[in-house]
């Protein structure tokens, strides 16, 4: 970063370009990919873009998920908001509701013609007669394990809930937790619980008319099963976010975890033996079809100024070009999956050393992603109230009612639906 700064300084001083940089369109990108190596990779791409587009200067300001929900509406109200902001599907309706977004339908169609988006990723941002963000990368939940550990215990990779429970029980020996699962009131728990729900026939939380159908026997069964599995998870699961699950797996304290990807930590903080790392679809109730949660991350375009809007679009197009896109996704190898057809085959994606090393796992992740779902964004039943339900983590809250407060799953799910209705009010 420092060297980049120095370099930037040197160029400004040496080149007469400084004069014409004054007329350049300046646009700001906010994103929540805050770990230093991701910021550095985004900066590389920005530098390349700025060099290729003399009339435009892009800058990035990494933000924290913890504050961005508070900060963005406030900054926009103050006229200090970003021009581009990364988003997950349930963040977008909030900004759309305050009128900060205009539909980018045409732009997405144009990009789709060129790169062919995975349909579900566009769907997550299509409602109320518009498309509100441009899909950028996908994340899907998977089951991670060590092949050697399963072999030693003499168990197969679980495919049904029953097998999963047995495996977790068998693996829970010598202070090891068989299955690390979060029970925090936080997004990660929303994701893992929904991953279980969608594998237990409780994919839809809305009826077609927009009323809630969260309170149904399949949901209750899913919560019951999840709560049962929690006995094989470490004692501090109620405060887990993604990082703790990975640390637990890396340190061999957890035999299995449910996570988007553990590749980076496994490689840098654990043994990093690619041949031993196993990844499988999340077991389902009957073992027939395996679903998972899929998060299509996207970028929202917020400029009110036409020139800036054009510049933002140019930058987004630049990111999605196959020769840049792979490098963009590999800011965290193994975590961010392509949302375009030509991205999935891009040389820049597969040539990353880490991706080459864990190619087998990454191919499995992409396969698992074929059945990706996201609560509140399924079967075209998308209603804006999902933003409130998701922002308040009501699915995770319902789990805590069972796991921490000891309510029966049926009562907790009924109360959960009431909470969702209240949130949607």
């Amino acid at each position: 970063m420092k060297t980049i700064l120095k370099l930037a300084l040197a160029t400004t001083m040496l080149m007469p370009a400084a004069a014409f940089a004054q007329d350049a369109v300046e646009i700001t990108l906010w994103h929540m990919e805050q770990p230093p190596h991701r910021v550095a990779r985004v900066q590389e791409l920005i530098d390349a873009f700025n060099a290729a587009n003399p009339g435009i200067v892009v800058t990035q300001e990494p933000q924290n998920w913890g504050e961005v929900y508070a900060k963005t509406p406030a900054a926009l109200a103050a006229g200090q908001g970003p021009d581009m902001l990364f988003a997950i599907p349930d963040f977008t309706p909030i900004l759309k509701d305050i009128g900060a977004l205009t539909s980018v339908e045409e732009f997405v169609e144009e990009l789709d013609a060129k790169h062919d988006f995975v349909d579900s990723t566009v769907e997550a941002y299509s409602y109320d007669g518009g498309v509100w963000a441009v899909p950028l990368y996908n994340m899907t939940m998977n089951l991670w394990y060590r092949k050697s550990v399963l072999e030693e215990a003499g168990i197969e990779v679980p495919s049904t809930w029953e097998e999963w429970r047995d495996a977790a029980e068998t693996l829970s020996v010598d202070g090891v937790s068989g299955m690390g699962l979060p029970a925090n009131r936080q997004l990660y728990t929303d994701q893992t619980v929904y991953s279980v729900m969608t594998n237990g026939g409780a994919t839809e939380i809305y009826n077609e008319d927009g009323t809630l159908r969260f309170d149904n026997p399949e949901t209750v069964a899913s919560f019951e099963f999840y709560n049962d599995m929690l006995q094989f998870s470490p004692a501090d699961s109620t405060s887990w976010t993604w990082g703790e699950a990975e640390a637990c797996f890396s340190s061999r304290s957890c035999a299995m975890v449910m996570q988007f990807s553990v590749i980076a930590t496994y490689d840098t903080q654990a043994e990093g033996d690619a041949a031993d790392l196993g990844v499988a679809p999340i077991p389902s109730r009957d073992g027939e079809e395996h679903n998972t949660i899929a998060y299509a991350n996207a970028v929202m375009l917020l400029s009110t100024d036409d020139e800036k809007m054009e510049a933002s679009k140019k930058f987004v197009s630049f990111l999605l070009e196959p020769e840049n896109y792979g490098r963009f996704l590999n800011m965290e190898p193994g975590l961010f999956m392509p949302v375009t057809a030509d991205g999935a085959t891009a040389e820049t994606f597969w040539s990353d050393p880490m991706v080459e090393k864990y190619r087998e796992q990454i191919e499995t992740i992409i396969d698992n992603g074929q059945n990706g779902r996201l609560f509140g964004f399924t079967s075209g039943r998308t209603f804006p109230s999902i933003a409130a339900i998701s922002a308040q983590n009501i699915i995770a809250e319902t789990l805590q009612a069972v796991a921490v407060s000891g309510q029966s799953p049926a009562d907790a799910v009924a109360a959960g639906q009431a909470r969702m209705e209240e949130a949607a009010r």
Partner: protein
């Protein structure tokens, strides 16, 4: 006299202006917001009278949070004061290295809160944390404890972390009070044959009590408003077990996007705390007048 009045205002006015702009004016705004129905910050709202107050006072969330806030304040006051008192009594003794100890006891207080939070989150975690293995090795427990696993333990752990951060500062304030107690009083009592406990009970404690009262009042207000430690460690969980009023306010404003309701809770919390503060400062004033 007239001149002195003008001078007094000139001396006080700048400080008051800063306070009015950064604390007074926002409070007025909060009252205004609480009478409207604004959701996301920046969006327009209409006047709804006392609807928000009715809604908040009629629901259980506010009362739960208020109850937890009281538990939080009292538990912190007790633990902090106990630790601080013992520490101050030790630091008031003479022993080799006492100067060093007096200086560095403050270490926990000068470290940024976020760092404190990360340190303890790491130490308490069951993967890689230091506390659990230590407890297991010493035979106190046979399997790792989830410090943030139940509402009760989460609250206790939070109180511990917050007290750990604040007790050194309070210890020094108490120490300041202790050093004001003249040595001859202790000497005289010793000659009269009073033992250490009697000397503490008869001399130290009565003379220290006013200092402790002042610290308790300010400490109560400061710890009531603690938000970052709770938010960063448990976000008010599990199952709402550590959702004190400041956490509820933040959640209502930024997770539920009910800005006006958050303002309403703020106004109510401020009224509660003000009532306490007015009574307490009255008592302090009387106390001050006596001396």
């Amino acid at each position: 006299m007239q001149q002195s009045k003008a001078l007094a205002f000139a001396l006080v006015a700048p400080a008051m202006l800063v306070l009015a702009a950064t604390l007074g004016w926002p409070l007025v705004q909060a009252v205004q917001l609480s009478l409207q129905d604004v959701r996301v910050i920046g969006s327009p709202g209409t006047f709804v009278g006392f609807d928000n107050y009715r809604h908040i006072l009629g629901g259980s969330a506010f009362w739960n949070a208020a109850g937890l806030s009281i538990v939080w304040v009292v538990a912190n006051a007790v633990l902090q004061t106990a630790l601080a008192l013992v520490a101050a009594l030790i630091l008031n003794e003479k022993f080799p290295g006492v100067r060093v100890a007096r200086t560095w006891i403050i270490l926990a207080w000068i470290v940024p809160t976020v760092v404190v939070v990360v340190i303890w989150r790491w130490l308490f975690s069951t993967s890689g944390g230091m506390i659990n293995p230590l407890l297991i090795q010493s035979g106190l427990v046979d399997r790792p404890i989830g410090f943030f696993a139940t509402p009760w333990t989460a609250m206790a752990t939070l109180v511990f972390v917050n007290s750990w951060r604040w007790f050194p500062f309070i210890a020094l304030m108490i120490l300041a009070g202790l050093t004001r107690i003249p040595d001859d009083l202790h000497e005289a009592a010793r000659i009269d044959g009073a033992n250490a406990w009697q000397r503490f009970r008869r001399i130290t404690w009565p003379l220290l009590a006013p200092t402790l009262v002042v610290l308790a009042v300010i400490g109560t207000m400061l710890s009531f408003n603690v938000f970052d430690i709770i938010w960063l460690l448990t976000s008010g969980g599990p199952a709402g077990g550590s959702r004190t009023l400041p956490v509820l306010i933040y959640e209502t404003a930024f997770k539920s996007y009910r800005l006006s309701e958050a303002a309403t809770i703020s106004v109510l919390a401020t009224l509660l705390l003000m009532a306490f503060a007015v009574i307490a400062t009255r008592a302090l004033d009387r106390d001050g007048a006596e001396r």
